[in-house]
Symmetry: C2
Subunit: 211 residues, 2 copies
Amino acid sequence: MAGRGLLLVISGFAGSGKGTICKELMQRYDNYAFSVSATTRDPRPGEQDGVDYFFIPKERFLEMIEAKELLEYAQYVSNYYGTPRKYVEEKLLEGKDVILEIECQGALQVKELFPEAVLFFVMPPNVQEIYNRLKGRGTETEEVILKRMKRGQEEAETIAKYDYLLINDDLNETVTRLHETVNSARNAAERNKDLVARIREEFVSFFKEHG
Amino acid sequence: MAGRGLLLVISGFAGSGKGTICKELMQRYDNYAFSVSATTRDPRPGEQDGVDYFFIPKERFLEMIEAKELLEYAQYVSNYYGTPRKYVEEKLLEGKDVILEIECQGALQVKELFPEAVLFFVMPPNVQEIYNRLKGRGTETEEVILKRMKRGQEEAETIAKYDYLLINDDLNETVTRLHETVNSARNAAERNKDLVARIREEFVSFFKEHG
């Protein structure tokens, strides 16, 4: 069942390891293409334009919204984040499975526009562990960590709308599971309407010959 | 995500190899239990009671319907076929993934009763191949083969209601794909409502402590 690739969305709680999962997926298998998001926020130390994000001015971002050059976008605090449409459509046509690592708000927009998209939500085994991982980084104040936990609580309200929930206990195992799930999704009846139509036509032709 | 097993339905066109797939699945992996159907038809040469089917008299079958001892049942020509409920429920509670190898009519009844069931429809690569495989057996007259093709055409009208379509080109590969799809299905959000509820409760508890 070749042809167009699948559109994949990967979201997750802070500290779920979703970024590492995407990197590992790209390294291990060659069927994936990673969509780089555009953002109006400033680059953090070490972040590269075109790799981590496309860093663009707010005016350009608003132009892109206007010109429908974004597949989805969302605003957090005073910054915009969005998915450039062109790269995604090109790669899907090439047969690549395109990964969007985006937040819940954008994920639900994508599902609305592309019901055949496959949505994954990655999480640590329990809520305490989200806090422990954020704390363990030692880079953020308690106040910021609690804000991110609050955000997590909001996200927990939308996870039931995802297709798959992945508990990331072991990176290698999670990446394998994700990859197998993508391959399974390719065989879903709802993603094979052409096959169903072809089989029906073939029966009609068969009975024209053997009728 | 342990606990209850999954209810699996495997249907397919005549000559799709669904029977062989089920046998291979049972031999390779130990998470499956195979549900033996009950039928009122006579055993064919080589068929064993309790292995291929439970062969029972029509009066007993009608009693079982009445006593709700069947998960689903269907009538073909003058014979009844059905799935005894007790075995299925016991095995699911033991955590086994229970395979029902049943026809479309029963499959849709199962999906109605158990929306969390996973339905697979197995098919050869094309319709001509169904005919070739039936012909190749050399056991049936052209008239019987054409009747089975007609039945296939009716089945083709329901395959879009299945969860997954599997083209059985290569037995080993199909069995692996089916097994991986079952494991993926375990992570579907709709089958993990308890997990979603637990995460939400844990956030509430977290903010009671850190509020």
